[in-house]
Structure formats: C-alpha cells, structure tokens
Amino acid sequence: MSQINARQRLYRRSRSSIFHGFDPVLTGAVALLLIIGTLLVYAATRDWYSRNGLDPQYYLKRHIINIAIGMFLAYGTTVIDYRLLRAYTPIFWGVGVLGLIVVLIPGLGSKVNGARAWIALPGGFQIQPAELAKIAIIIGMSMLLSERLHNSDEPSSRDVLQALVVAGIPVLLIIIQPDMGTVFIISASVVTIIAVSGAPSRWVAGLLIIAVLGAVVATKTGVISQYQLNRLQTFVDPTADTQGAGYQLRQARITVGSGGLIGTGLFNGPQTNGRFVPEQQTDFIFTVAGEELGFLGSGLILFLYLLVLMRGFAIARRTDDPFGRLMTIGVIAWFAFQLFENIGMTLGLMPMTGVPLPFISYGGSSMFATLIGFGLIQNVHARSRG
C-alpha cells in the first residue's frame, strides 16, 4: 500500500513537470540529432548563400522555426493521452488522404524532382501530405490490429485486411505521385506492424512476396516512370549517367569519402561549400556530416539513431497496451527504414529517392512528422506504467 502511495506521489510530482514522462536517453539522442542537424543545415547553405548575395542564415532561421513548431507539436502529442488519439484517427487519416488527392491536382500540387508531392502554401512554405499520411497509417493500423472484437489473442484475417485497406489507399495515391522512397518506407513499416501484431505468419510472408512481385511488375510495366527507372539504373550501374542521378550519387560518395576519419571541420568542407552535391541541405545532408565531421561525426549520428531505435524497442516491450506497442513499433520502423533509405542512398547502398533524413534534414513537413512520431513514442512511454 505504502509502495503504491509512494509511486503515486512520484507520479504526481513528475506529472507537474513539463518533462514528465520523457525518456531521458531517447530525448537526449533526439535533441543531439536536432542540434547536429541544425549545424549541418547551416553548414550546407551558409557559404553558397552569402557568396551569391543571399542571406546566409536563410535556411538556418527557417530550420529553427521548423524545429520550434515541431517541438510544440511533439509536446502536444506527448501530453494528450495517446489513447484519446484513437477517436481522432479517422479524421487524421481522412485529412491525410485528402492532402494526397490535392497534390495530384495540377495547379494545386507542385512537382519537385519528378514527384508531385507538395502543396504550395502562401509565404513560400510547402507541405508534403505524404509525411502526415505516414502518421495516419501507423495510428490507423495500430488501432485496427490491437482492438479485439473477438475472443482471440491475435488479429484475424479480417482485421489484417481492414488494416491493409487503411494503408493501401494512401500508398496507392503516393505511387501515383510517384514517390517511391516513401512507398518503400510505408510498405516496410506496414509489414513490420503486421508482423509484430501477432497476425498469422502467412500474411507476413504473403505481403513480402507481393512487395517483391509488385516491384518487378512496376518496373516492367512502366508504372514506375522513366525518371524513377533512371535513378534505379544508375544505382545498378553508376557510370550509366554522368550528369544526372549518377553524377549526384558519385559526388555524394566522393564527398563522404573525402571526409576521412575526422573530417574537414564544421563549415570547412570544400565539397559542401562548393555545393558540388545537389540537395545537400535536404536529401543529401549526410554528405555534409561525412565531409565536415568525418567518420567520427557521422558514426556518432548513426550511434544516436541506434539509441533512438533501441529506446523505441524497450518502450514497445514494456507497455501492456497492444495499441501503444504497435504504434511505437510503427514509428520506429518508419524512422529506421527512412534513415536507412536516406543514408544508404548517400553511401551508394540504396537507389536514389527523395526522402529526408529524420531529425536532421531541412524541411518542415518531415520535421513536424518525425517530431510528432517522437512525441507518440514518448506518450506511450509516459503512460506505460502507473
């Protein structure tokens, strides 16, 4: 009794702090990634913008604003009991799908790098509905696969099918854009959620087979555009295209490789300052870390990601609530596949797609989405005991 009281006292006291429920390791790792990301965004843009007569802090300022908004969203996501989110999930999902439809309407959606993935807003801001859709899919699937209307410990095939419809509609819309990087990340996360939900193994195996077949058919039948195909081909043979995707990938590898053990020092990378790698504040930001911070710095970034993932798994294991667990796993899978796709592309392990690096790349939508994802994990962590 006294033990429970003690715990309740602790609960109450910590509840009064705004830091209540924050996992210190997870929060610390994310905070470090945000700081490193801010420095890298600044390093990626400072020289070039000042040399070309523009505000050298243009991207820095916007990035800090994005982080501030993202932190506010993360805090909001953390303090509201995530179980209440269930009620809003259909609205969330609906908004996401609507956004994905809007981007496909010419005049409303804008095309960047071959994908119609952006909605332009006044003031030069853009939002990417696919980022929001990721969260909607993860919460929606977690809900459907954790609620039991029948007396069983595992989701039925009907549950799985419902979940697949929830994921499938936005994924199809993203395929039309086409943004294959995001499709890959969402698909991998969906399979992961289904696998951990305890659904019958045939579903996991079947989905994996469908994913492989789908990729083959898409490449053969032209569902994947020529632009996507070029990027894939240069992944297989980097010498095939010397100025386009192949050029970018080679420049990225040279830039990372030239950093060596300790790098050139922050703001001192000639490849970065010369802006030889395109999109280096967004998709190719890891090249800045590679060149200026070297193996030690970029290795540290990988280590921080490892901490984030490990804490995520620990939180997923500890919670008694299947919904919270699946949601945590979904977010962790999203982070993991996205960072693997992004860094893997930079290092030449993955084909070229346009996905940002979580917590580090410049870009509002991505920053908001990843920080909301972080907030969701924290939320589960905060409510997993007591």
Binding site: R51, R253, I254, P270, Q271, G274, F276, L302, L306
Partner: protein
C-alpha cells in the same frame, strides 16, 4: 503479447540493428578504407592550379652574347570566365576588340576556345592552356592600344592588357640560328602524358626543338603554383598553397654569334652562287667545329625561317610553308638531318684503306679515262685521262680511276661475288674506323644516322627488299616496269646481298649507297686533322645558375680513334694540303694567307626534282685549318649545288676569312673572331645586355 509477436519483435529489432551495422560498415569503407582515393577525387573536383611560369634561362654564345632571351611583351588577354558570364558570351567584346587590334574576329574567337571544347579537326589555333588563366590574343600589342583598353575597361569587360614574358631570339650580329636554337611553345597533350618522370603544368611553355628542347629541363625552371578552391559555378572560394617560381638556368654554348652569322651568310651566298651557275641548289648546310674537343662553333642550315615566328603566332600559311617541299622544307636541319653521298671527300678513307692494303702511297699510278670493271666501263670524272701521277697528286686533282682499279683488285682478292670467309675488306674497315654508322652525338634533337654501304648493310638491305625484287612484276608500279629496271630487279633478287664489283668501286669514291650528314663529314675531317681522335660534337658548354654558379659542365667525350698509322695520316695531311695548293681547291684559295687543307666533293644524285628536272650534283667542301696546327674543321654542303670547289669551296673560304680576320689576301690584326687562335675556354659573365664585339 503472444509468442509470435514476441518473436517477430525480436526479428524486427535484429533486422534494424543489421541495417545500421550495414550503414556503419559502408561508412567505414568509404571514409577510412577508400578515404585517400576519395580525397584525391574531391581535390580534383574542387581545386584549380594557377601556374606562374618561371623565367626561362638564357642561351648565350661562348662570350656571353645572348642568342635567346626573354622580352617583356604587352599582352592583350581575355578572361574566359568573365566573358562567358556576359549575356552574349563575350561576342560583342571580342568584335570590338577585333576592330581595335585589327585582327579577325574568327581568330580571336578560335584563340580563346580551349582545345577540349572544339570538335576534332577544328582545333587549329585553340588555347592549350586552362580556363583559369588569361588567354593572350596578342603578345606584342601597341602601347597606345593597350592604354585604350585599360582606360575604357567598362567597354572591354573581361579584357586586360598586361606585360608578359616572351621568348625572343634577338639576332645579334645578324644571326638567325633558327635550327640550332629551336623554339618554345605550349604543352601538347602528349607532352603532358609523357611518362618521363617530369611534371609539367598545362600552361607552361616548353622547348619544342633545337637547344630549347634538349636543355629544356634546365632552361624551364620551376613554375610557381597557386592553388585555388572553386565551387560548382567555378567561383573561387579559397586559396590553397602558393609557391613562388624558380627561374631557369642559363645555357652557355660554344657558338659565336659573329661566326654563326658569317657562316649563315656564306652558306646563303653559296646557294645563290650555285643557282647563278644554273644549278637547282635547293638547300645546304655548313658547320665549324673545334677539332680538339668537338665543340660546335657555328652550325647553319639553308633554307631557314624566323625563329621568332612561333612566339608571334604562326599563320596557317607560315606553318604549312615550314614543311613544304616546294619551299625545300625549311624546318629540316640539313647539317644533322640531311644524308648525302660524300663523293670525293671520301677518298681520304680510301687512302687509309690503300695504305693498310699495302699499296705504296709514294708510288705513281695511272689515271686513265676509264676502267673496265667486269662487263662495265667506269669513267673518270668528266671522262678525262690524266696520265701517270703520284697518289698525292691523284687526291689533289681527284682522279677516280686509280681508286676504281685498287678497289676492284681488292674486291677480286676478297673473292668477288663469292667472298672469302674472312675477307680483308680494307676499304670497309678503314671507313668503319671513322664510326660512320654511329651518330656524332650532338646535343640537338633528331640527328640522322649516316649509312655505310658495307657487307652488313648489304645483307640487311637484302633481307628487307628481297621480297620486293623477287616479285618485282607483281609489286612494282607500271611506270617501274622498264626493261632496265626489270633487269636490275632480277639482279637484285639473285645476289642483292652481295657486294658487287660496281658497289666496291663506287664505295672507294664515296658514291653508291654510302650517305653521311654534313656533321659526320666534319667529324671525320676533324679526326684526320687532329691526328685521329673522333670527338662527340657538342653545342652546349655549361649550365649556369642565375647567381653565376656552374651547375654542369659538358665534358668533351672521345668516341673513338682512327686505325690509320701516323705515317698514313702524315701522307693524308700532305695530300689534303696539296688539294688547296695545286688541286681542285687551288683556284678558290689562291692567295689565302692562312694554310688550309681540304677536299672537294661533287656527288652524283639520282632522281628527279618536283618540276621533273634531273637532280644536280651535291657540292661538298670538307676542310681543316691552319694546316700545320689544325684547330678548326669547316664543312659546307650545297644540295644540287654543282661543283664542290666553285659552290662550297668559295663558301668555306669566306668562313675562314671571318674566322681568321682575313680581308682580301691579308690578315687584319685583331679582326680574327678568336684573337688567341682558339675559342674561349673560360665561361662568360651572363647578362641579357651583352653585345657582340665589333671587329676593327
């Protein structure tokens, strides 16, 4: 959580850790294992070297008078990066520049294109240097024009006027020296690709020919390098290393500008004299050598060209003229690249051969109008019988039939067409001891190797041509199918590898397949004059640093010695003196106050000129002087110049006049080029301001 969930969670966790490990491993490979490779690749992407060329060393004559120096020119340059940024890519600027400089717009456009930018076959006049250095349109602009460009810089954006170092051959004392000095030019891709361990920089100027190329590594110096870091738009973002250029070393030569000038004039006059006598006289060469050490005091080739033309920029016409047959290929240096039958000058060799064969050099021999050699009669020169005479006289009047007789007899003694296994070969051996088939070793590029028509030559010739002559009807063109040529081909097929009687007798008078360069003949006569030593020929004497320190001295090298005995050489000295006293050279040297020894040569040449006329004889005069204590060897050759004496002999006399300071038939005191009777041995002080001495 059911069992499957728990297991799958573990699998997912392992999968994700594996993904991170994969990234980590790849990162390690790129940055640590392959790091140096990528660092090099990055460096070539970001850095641009700007080369500040070093001041090229001077080339001076033996008393320090500059033959090649550096002049400050006023260059009008175009900055490609600047004009490319203009909306019309600089077209307007280049157009107004072309009217100001009175140059064609098309030339300016072409001159400012990098060679790599232009399609194959349209690269003529392109810029071989880099985009990051100013590209010169002209190097010798009028100061007024340059001033206009500087003052109206707003009208000429990207155009600049600046002083520039240009290579200049000042031509002091009227010297040309194009063939010996050579010229400089921009690096070509093959120069850059040359794996000779030397590191060149794209914008450096290097020696292209003559002494400029032979001593390039000393003359060129070390350029200064400024490394610039650029961005994707090629804008400069930072500066890397910056080293100052180190000036090149000077080359002291054994040439003398006054003598060189005199030799060039004497040669050109000889060619004119030949033409005035009705001979084609297409080209010629002359050389003066110090017979005690092989140093070249003067070397000339005709026709020549303006050595400064390359730095001024060759027009297409000038460039094609250099190699035009009609213009007698002025680019060719006849002294070391031309091969000609030595004719009677070769009788000095035959004297040595006869002596070693046991012929009495002091006996008398008959000089008939012709000698029957097998089935053919070989005529004396101009088919004249000169009666019985001493061998000395035979050399002086250049009797051929005496040598036909001796050579034919010796050929028969060696077995004729069925040679003995160990033939005496006196004639071949005498010639071989002159090192004829070895180069004279001069420090100039592309020296030709002289050819000796001995047994070894015949064998190798046959190996190469047997197939052609034995299948003559199929291989030869229609025009070559005359009955005479068919017969000749048949003969060549049967015994083309053998020395035939005709070959043997021709060999003795320097006709047939034996051909020598004028330098080789000078080296041979120097060896006769100095008592038998064959010296390597050298133009360079020493390499001297800008502060006066001697870096390297070229030590004279003995390449061999003659096999002739002292008595034979004594006889030969007397005979060669007799040529000038009473023989074929007597008229030319009548009254000359310095004793000269020498030999005329008039070589028959087969073949036709471009205009269809038969080729005229090669005119030779090979000599040394003073006869008692010889110091200089002088050889002149005029291709298709006619008689040896009247064309080349007169030219050689003129050279000796300058050398010894002779006016008319008198030595003018103090007028000799080398007042001590020998070329200077001390190295001179080097200054670009040194002027040649003026004779009284």
């Amino acid at each position: 959580m059911n069992q499957r969930s728990r297991l799958n969670l573990l699998v997912v966790q392992i999968l994700m850790v594996s993904l991170l490990v994969a990234l980590f491993g790849r990162l390690f490979y790129l940055q640590i294992a392959a790091g140096p490779k990528y660092r090099d690749a990055a460096l070539s992407i970001q850095s641009r070297d700007v080369v500040a060329p070093a001041t090229r060393g001077l080339i001076v004559d033996s008393s320090g008078v500059p033959l090649a120096l550096n002049k400050v020119g006023l260059a009008i340059t175009i900055d490609r990066i600047a004009i490319d940024k203009q909306p019309d890519k600089g077209v307007a600027v280049m157009k107004s520049l072309s009217s100001l400089l009175k140059l064609k717009y098309a030339d300016i456009y072409q001159n400012t294109r990098l060679c790599g930018e232009l399609p194959k076959g349209q690269k003529a006049g392109c810029w071989t240097g880099s985009r990051y250095q100013p590209i010169p349109i002209t190097k010798e602009a009028d100061p007024d024009v340059a001033l206009q460009i500087v003052e109206r810089s707003d009208q000429f954006p990207g155009v600049n006027a600046e002083p520039i170092a240009i290579r200049n051959y000042p031509g002091l004392a009227g010297v040309n020296g194009a063939h010996v000095l050579g010229y400089v030019g921009p690096l070509t891709d093959s120069d850059l690709a040359k794996e000779n361990g030397k590191k060149y920089f794209r914008s450096e100027t290097i020696g292209k020919s003559g002494l400029e190329v032979m001593y390039d590594s000393y003359l060129r110096g070390v350029p200064g390098i400024r490394t610039l870091i650029v961005d994707r738009k090629e804008a400069i973002t930072a500066q890397g290393q910056n080293t100052a250029p180190i000036a090149g070393d000077h080359l002291v030569t054994s040439l003398d500008v006054r003598l060189q000038s005199a030799v060039e004039t004497a040669l050109a006059d000889a060619v004119k004299r030949g033409r005035a006598s009705g001979y084609t006289s297409d080209s010629g060469a002359a050389v003066v050598m110090d017979i005690r050490n092989g140093q070249i005091l003067a070397i000339a080739s005709y026709p020549t060209y303006d050595p400064n033309a390359f730095e001024k920029g060759l027009t297409v016409q000038q460039a094609s003229d250099l190699f035009s047959e009609k213009k007698s290929v002025p680019a060719l240096s006849r002294a070391l690249q031309g091969l000609y039958a030595p004719a009677s000058t070769f009788k000095s060799v035959s004297v040595i051969a006869a002596a070693s064969a046991g012929y009495n050099l002091n006996a008398s021999y008959n000089c008939p109008a012709q000698i029957q050699v097998g089935t053919r009669a070989f005529q004396n020169f101009e088919s004249k019988s000169q009666g019985v005479m001493s061998l000395k006289k035979a050399i002086a009047v250049s009797c051929d039939t005496i040598w036909y007789r001796i050579a034919f007899d010796e050929w028969l003694r060696d077995g004729g067409l069925k040679p003995k296994s160990n033939p005496n070969d006196y004639f071949f051996k005498a010639a071989q001891s002159f090192n004829i088939t070895q180069k004279v070793g001069i420090d100039l590029p592309s020296e030709s190797t002289s050819r000796l028509a001995d047994r070894a030559y015949k064998k190798s010739w046959f190996a190469q041509n047997k197939d052609f002559y034995c299948n003559y009807k199929d291989r030869a063109s229609k025009a070559q199918q005359t009955p005479f040529l068919l017969l000749l081909a048949q003969e060549n097929c049967v015994d083309g590898d053998k020395i035939r009687a005709g070959d043997a007798v021709n060999f003795a008078i320097g006709q047939g397949d034996t051909v020598v360069t004028p330098l080789k003949l000078a080296q041979m006569y120097a060896a006769i004059g100095n008592g038998g030593t064959i010296w390597q020929m050298m133009v360079g004497k020493a390499i001297v640093k800008t502060d006066g320190t001697v870096v390297k001295t070229m030590v004279p090298k003995k390449l061999g010695s003659l096999s002739a005995s002292a008595a034979t050489l004594d006889f030969l000295h007397g005979a060669l003196r007799e040529v000038v006293v009473s023989g074929t050279g007597a008229g030319v040297f009548a009254g000359f106050p310095i004793e000269v020894s020498g030999k005329t040569g008039t070589a028959e040449v087969f073949g036709k000129n471009l205009n269809g006329s038969l080729k005229d004889n090669t005119s030779w005069f090979a000599s040394y002087a003073p006869s008692k204590h010889p110091r200089y060897a002088v050889v002149m050759m005029v291709s298709q110049g006619g008689f040896g004496a009247s064309t080349s002999g007169v030219g050689v006399r003129k050279i000796y006049e300058s050398l010894f300071g002779v006016k008319g038939n008198k030595v003018v005191p103090g007028a000799a080029i080398f007042p001590d009777g020998k070329p200077p041995t001390k190295l001179p002080k080097i200054s670009p301001a040194t002027k040649p001495k003026v004779a009284p």
